[in-house]
Symmetry: C2
DNA sequence: CTGAAAGCGCTTACAG
DNA sequence: CTGAAAGCGCTTACAG
């Protein structure tokens, strides 16, 4: 039944070193006031000398678990071309550090979700809250997460209920402002390359586009909008079709920068110049955006801040503090070289 | 002394549900053969019904710890413009999943390193191996990591010793091939924008540059090399100076794509055309590279594969399998639009 | 101010 | 094939 101590020094070692009980060591290390300054000092010295640190697992078992917040994301893409996830991880990590809680990265996919239910995952990993990014509404976890009573912040997804909130920007307003900018630049025939049909965000961005047009008394043309699935290549194909069918279009509002890049390629192939003949406006301000084609005009989001917001919201819920059910973060229209006044 | 069970169901609950001891449940769940098929089946059903999963912390304490490999990296940058770290995380995570071990992300900086020694961090977090990226030679952890007997893979850093290996590409050869490509294109006056002076990688890439020139009997000009610190803006300044002092230069070899971008900006400001007047060759093939200036000619690295290699090497060391002390991964010269034959 | 002891949720030798 | 019990490294009521 005995197991080798594996050479790791434990609280027992520092207790022995100092000549006190492990109880006292534990209390000294946890900053309790009922330890004499003198023993406390000796303990701290011994800790230093032995290079000791309490095992987080054991602490957790003992009842002093650090709060840990997990980032649950669907399979990481080959390349994070838009740099979004990286920024998000970065921001959330920072926020967790600042709050003194642990960060945990969890990547999931359909297969993994079959094997281990969300409840089981929670039990196994012992996290206290989760921020979710890129989960699809048809993922098994989707329902489970929403029904669980764990504090949870969702990226760009509508939610309701206790201990739940969503992190997003005001997509409707952002899109509206972007399109209004095009309108102010003299454009009237404005096409839109939207994201995925099933994505909440796509609906909202289309809503903003429609609002801007109607508000400017520009008649809405349903066939001016195409779905590009947030993909460069799909956007290329769709933009080409759209422009061939509607050569009167002089501006393209794209729901992502990658799609804007695809659209610009399509326009070039059609012999149209950007922005002289056609203006193109993107969304996200991915790192590439400022470098491509003398810079893409776009709506900037702030992934780091969004990550921080996610971490913070979950932490607050953990602490029993109230949190808005929808946290809208700032965005910003960045005007660069792919848009111009209509000629 | 009693603590509330907090509602979490434990192994005791499934034991009670089935009517066996927790010993039996544990053994069934761990796949031991000495449990009758019948009880095993009942246990599995109960597990399903109760949505039970063993607490990883408790398992670890009990002696059945999952191997976990940590990625230790210095402070995450604002933006991972080169997408390298993201790819690395991604690859390492995948590899860990494939190997059935846990992945843990650890971000550190000078302050954190002061507060907690590396040995303490190990004890606290209980990881069994670590891959290190972006640690500086003057970081407190640098020595500690090298002296620890924990399996450890270092990115782009020379190491020796048991349980240590480095993950890298053959920088000398890669650079040499890149410069040879420029030479074959007719260039003789070739400048170099190097990275950080103190970085191992910079020395190696310079070595390759020198080798290519000497081999082609092109006299080496020491003042053709400038340090750009891997930064776009520094490279901009240095490239400008270099070209003003040496207008005879017709090609620039840059130790990173971001520096190539800075260099190209500088050339444009000087009224020089790329690649007509001056060819520019980068390094890394960051996501941006293919989009900027009709595409930067560059040496491609494979961050995902490097991450995988790191995770695999550490795992092998953990398993007692032999590992080369230096793992050289593939690279690839990608010819795009910023280089051309000398006019 | 300090220590002996129970408990956290597991695993595993040992004895049947 | 199965179970009682010790142990992993901590924390914390409780008693002094």
């Amino acid at each position: 039944m005995k197991r080798a101590n594996s050479g790791k020094i434990s609280i027992r070692d520092v207790a022995r070193e100092v000549g006190v009980s492990i109880t006292t060591v534990s209390r000294a290390l946890n900053g309790y006031s009922d330890v004499s300054e003198k023993t406390k000092k000796k303990i701290l010295e011994a800790v230093e000398r032995l290079d000791y640190a309490p095992d987080a697992n054991a602490r957790s078992m003992g009842g002093k678990a650090e709060k840990t917040i997990a980032l649950l994301t669907s399979e990481l893409g080959k390349r994070d071309e838009n740099g979004f996830l990286y920024g998000f991880i970065n921001g959330m990590f920072q926020q967790c550090s600042d709050q003194g809680c642990e960060f945990m990265l969890l990547v999931t996919n359909a297969v993994k979700q079959e094997k281990l239910s969300f409840a089981q995952l929670c039990k196994k990993k012992n996290f206290n809250g989760v921020v979710v990014s890129g989960l699809r509404t048809d993922d098994p976890y989707y329902k489970e997460v929403l029904e669980s009573d764990l504090p949870c912040a969702l990226m760009d997804m509508k939610v309701s209920g206790k201990h739940k909130c969503s992190i997003t920007i005001d997509n409707v307003r952002a899109s509206r402002e972007a399109v209004e900018y095009l309108i102010r630049s003299g454009h009237e025939n404005i096409g839109m390359l939207n994201g995925k049909k099933m994505s909440d965000v796509s609906g909202e961005r289309y809503g903003g586009y429609v609002a801007a047009l109607l508000n400017a008394k520009i008649p809405l043309r349903l066939d001016y909008m195409r779905y590009g699935d947030f993909l460069e290549d799909t956007a290329f194909v769709q933009a080409k079709k759209l422009m061939e069918e509607h050569p009167e279009i002089t501006a393209l509002f794209c729901a992502s920068d990658m799609m804007a890049i695809g659209a610009i390629r399509a326009l070039e192939e059609l012999g149209l110049r950007v922005p002289e003949d056609v203006s193109v406006l993107g969304f996200d301000d991915i790192p590439i955006a400022k470098y491509v084609y003398k810079g893409i005009t776009t709506v900037r989001q702030f992934p780091i801040e969004m990550g921080r917001a996610g971490g913070e919201a979950v932490y607050k819920m953990l602490m029993g503090e109230p949190v808005e059910s929808e946290l809208q973060l700032p965005y910003e229209l960045v005007v660069r070289g792919t848009t111009a006044k209509r000629r």
